[in-house]
Symmetry: C2
Subunit: 274 residues, 2 copies
């Protein structure tokens, strides 16, 4: 189960430095101080390794080392810390313990990093609160070819373990700039000649007809309060998701998913015609 | 705050019959035995009243009766049971107590009820497990004009309080048939000349090109295992959500939302052309 080059180090004490460090990384304050975060579970860890995330340390339960280890891509790993099962369970942020956890270094992107490619599509999230929603938006952003995510101040921590889980690896694949200010992002988009776009229930243009085939910054707001007046008052275009039951509203993650899908459709049609 | 016709009855004992009944309805077994379920919070309760759900009893906290009551549509209500705040908190299924709860009668639909309208679009869910996912699918089904939902055996209870919350009133607006068997639904769709359709990652037809403008039964499967071989082997058409990152997968609620959106787009285009 173990690759020949791999060194095992046993940890049996809950006062061990690494154990303490993992516990500190459960909290946002611990992550922000150290610029480190946790990756839990073999599937996500393999994704992180494939995306060349900087892995600092790996701890695994003894049962994992005896079995699940064969599913881990061990090629780039030198040392694994073996932790007895009971102590390992106390390290997990989920109720179904994940058996392996890595400490990884944050790869903080600048807002300019979110401009990759010929036709950038940058998602700007303002004060999104729910970790599951952020993870879902990240997963859809990756699936539909967004070039990066900008998180404004007040948005949930993208390194929150629940976000990492819900993002299913998109955290490692997409540039994510955080702690941005909305006026700064609006200015930046203007300077980069990007159109700025926001959803609005009373907008005239349907996302089916909107010309997404330009560099675009797409804004989404808070779960309860929606987009701020600052964003709605300053974007170039407001667009709407056409619904049959017009009084309905959709959750922000669903709205983002549908808008990203519609954007990919329009861009694809455009490039097929040229 | 109180309408003149409204009668208040005080409940102070936790052994009161109504209090016990509300607690029983927290559990699926209690709901199934009585064919009753809970509606928590003033917003959902107003939706239920507007949709003419059969409300059997209403209990509210004393603070709600002193204030929030003005937000409740009291026209069709005769009696409200006033419960002291502390006792009321213990009745709530959420950590943020909702202050008002109604006991309502289930309105169980048959699969034929899910055929409303000239061009039915029936969603069939097989073994969906997560209450949030089911609620989200219901909300999108309503927003994009589905005619009803059929839940196969093994699907999460649509009257689970988490489903009711996530569905944001769609529970009351849509016919929902449950405990169906998949072979029965497949036969039924054939008899009703509906096309049967399922998403599949390797399908040849994109949801953007698929002809949704026919009576359609759309199948979605379990979060972990996807669609069963029984469904994949028997549907008329398999379709795919085109993605930029082709190795990606999407959560079932997101997939359903995007497919329903695409279906509404195609149907709308078709009807505009005719």
């Amino acid at each position: 189960v173990l690759a020949p080059h791999l060194v095992l180090r046993e940890i049996s004490s809950s006062s061990n430095h690494l154990i303490k460090q993992i516990r500190l990384l459960h909290e946002r304050s611990g992550r922000e101080k150290s610029k480190l975060f946790l990756i839990e579970g073999v599937k996500l860890l393999n994704e992180a390794l494939a995306q060349r995330v900087d892995i600092v340390d790996i701890a695994a339960s003894e049962s994992f080392i005896g079995g699940g280890m064969r599913d881990l891509d061990q090629r780039q790993i030198k040392i694994v810390h073996a932790v007895n099962d009971k102590l390992f369970d106390s390290l997990s942020t989920t109720t179904t313990p994940t058996q392996v956890v890595a400490i990884a270094r944050m790869n903080q992107a600048s807002i300019d990093d979110c401009l990759r490619g010929e036709m950038p599509l940058t998602i700007v999230l303002d004060a999104l609160q729910d970790p599951g929603n952020l993870g879902t938006v990240m997963r859809c952003a990756r699936a539909f070819g967004a070039s990066g995510l900008i998180l404004a101040k007040g948005t949930v921590d993208p390194y929150n373990p629940k976000v990492i889980r819900a993002a299913m690896g998109a955290s490692f694949a997409l540039p994510i700039a955080h702690d941005a200010s909305i006026p700064e992002v609006l200015n930046w988009a203007r300077q980069k000649s990007m159109q700025t776009v926001a959803l609005h229930p009373h907008a005239d243009i349907s996302i089916n007809d909107f010309d997404f085939a330009k560099p675009t910054a797409l804004f989404f707001g808070n779960e309860g309060h929606g987009l701020s007046p600052q964003i709605l008052g300053n974007v170039d275009h407001k667009i709407v998701i056409p619904m049959v039951a017009e009084t309905e509203s959709l959750n922000v993650a669903i709205s983002a998913a549908i808008t990203l899908f519609a954007c990919a459709r329009v861009r694809n049609l455009r490039s097929n015609r040229q």
